[in-house]
């Protein structure tokens, strides 16, 4: 089953290393150029689901300025899943681009 957009972005945010909840949200906003800004409820719900699916796990806990930070990291399964999903999305995007190429060429030809 394909990962939904939010879960894909969470896994992507964690691909470069463990992050805590707020940092994940910030990273998603950055990676998606601001098109995705997960709210806390949906973010932690998605994190719970990903842990349930054994794609994420708790890395460590820290208290910074009296605030609890729980860091999450990808599991081996999570890395494989993200790789599969990214490959699948890239392949789909390639198909779309290939199909657009003749149309784009015609359009440019017409314009020219």
């Amino acid at each position: 089953m394909a990962l939904n957009e939010q879960r894909f972005y969470i896994l992507t945010a964690l691909a470069s290393g463990p992050l805590h909840g707020y940092a994940i949200a910030e990273e998603i906003a950055r990676v998606s150029d601001g098109s995705h800004t997960p709210r806390p409820g949906s973010l932690y719900h998605a994190i719970d689901k990903l842990i349930e699916q054994q794609l994420l796990e708790l890395d460590r806990e820290e208290v910074v300025d009296g605030r609890l930070r729980r860091y999450y990291r990808l599991t081996e399964t999570g890395v494989l899943r993200l790789t599969d999903e990214a490959t699948r999305r890239a392949a789909s995007a390639q198909v779309a681009l290939r199909r657009l190429q003749p149309g784009l060429g015609t359009a440019f030809g017409t314009l020219a």
Partner: protein
């Protein structure tokens, strides 16, 4: 509402979003967002509230989510029509049909149906999860309970139509409609429900107070009539569950499964055959029934205990599926 208040409310909601760690985590998240110049807004509050609701539903045990529905429906239907028929005997059909207490009780039952639908939606999510995990027992229990509840509802609705049409006649009070029975062709337990419920009602007949020209329905009397009926009403469902549990349990041998099915099924089939061909349903002695039902209940508890244990062992030894 100011952002500060929304922030306070959202932090308060976070208390129910999970364990203490999760609460602290969400509050820390909100603090960091505010420190970074992103005040907590309504969408954040709604999001945390949604998480709280989701957890509440997810953590609800399937039996807690599922069982109140048929229990409530059974309780209300059983107490309502038995009490009302008793009242009808006392005050007469015309007055009974138009009486405010009848109309009020109808509204209560209708409201209960709405509550039941909502509860079924809640329970449904849990049941689908159970099904996905390969656990057939909770959905089977729920389906059976709903079927029995529907059969009761069918009777109730039919009789309600009689009341509203003013066509209620004495001969309709104690019969079981062919339509209802047709709904449960093959559901051999239904006559036992009626028999058992009938014998219980004889001992716990609700009191109806007559003051001049109105009927006052005593809530405690309704409960007195409804509770035993509701339990008896669920009893046969539990018996069918016993068979379902047995067949769902991987560690029980096929021989034992068939033996259980025969032990539970034979008396029930016998009761139906007896009712159909030998004696009218009302003539079965309550003591005979109590003995049969009591024996079956013991068998049921034993089987469920074994089946649940087997299912737990089976689940524990099954590797977790990765989606």
């Amino acid at each position: 509402m100011s952002n500060r208040r929304i922030g306070r409310l959202t932090r308060h909601l976070a208390r129910w979003a999970g364990d203490e760690g999760r609460t602290a985590e969400i509050r820390g998240h909100l603090d960091e967002a505010e420190a970074a110049g992103q005040p907590v807004g309504v969408r954040d509050a709604a999001s945390v509230f949604s998480l709280v609701m989701h957890r509440a539903i997810r953590d609800l045990p399937w039996w807690l989510a599922g069982l109140p529905v048929p229990l409530l429906i059974g309780l209300l239907l059983a107490s309502s029509y038995e009490t009302h028929f008793h009242a009808w005997d006392v005050v007469g059909a015309d007055e009974f049909v138009r009486h405010p207490s009848t109309i009020l009780w109808m509204r209560v039952v209708e409201s209960a149906a709405v509550v039941g639908v909502v509860a079924a939606v809640v329970a449904g999510r849990r049941l689908v999860q159970q099904l996905r995990r390969g656990n057939l027992v909770p959905p089977a229990l729920f389906a059976l309970a709903i079927l029995v509840a529907l059969s009761q509802a069918d009777l109730f609705i039919e009789r309600t139509a009689w009341w509203r049409d003013g066509r209620l006649r004495a001969e309709h009070v104690n019969d079981v409609s062919p339509h209802s029975l047709a709904l449960f062709l093959g559901f051999t337990l239904l006559p036992v429900v009626y028999l058992a419920a009938g014998s219980r009602f004889e001992r716990t007949q609700p009191s109806v107070d007559l003051h001049h020209d109105h009927v006052a329905l005593d809530p405690s009397a309704l409960l007195a009539a409804g509770l035993p009926a509701a339990f008896v009403f669920l009893g046969p469902v539990a018996l069918v569950l016993a068979v379902t549990c047995t067949w769902a349990a991987p560690s029980i041998s096929r021989r034992l499964k068939w033996a259980t099915t025969a032990v539970v099924g034979a008396p029930l089939v016998g009761a139906v055959a007896w009712n159909a061909f030998v004696e009218p349903i009302d003539d079965i002695h309550p003591v005979v029934l109590a003995t049969v039902l009591g024996g079956l209940a013991i068998v049921w508890f034993r089987i469920v205990a074994v089946a649940v244990q087997s299912l737990r062992i089976g689940q524990a030894s099954t590797p977790t599926e990765v989606a």
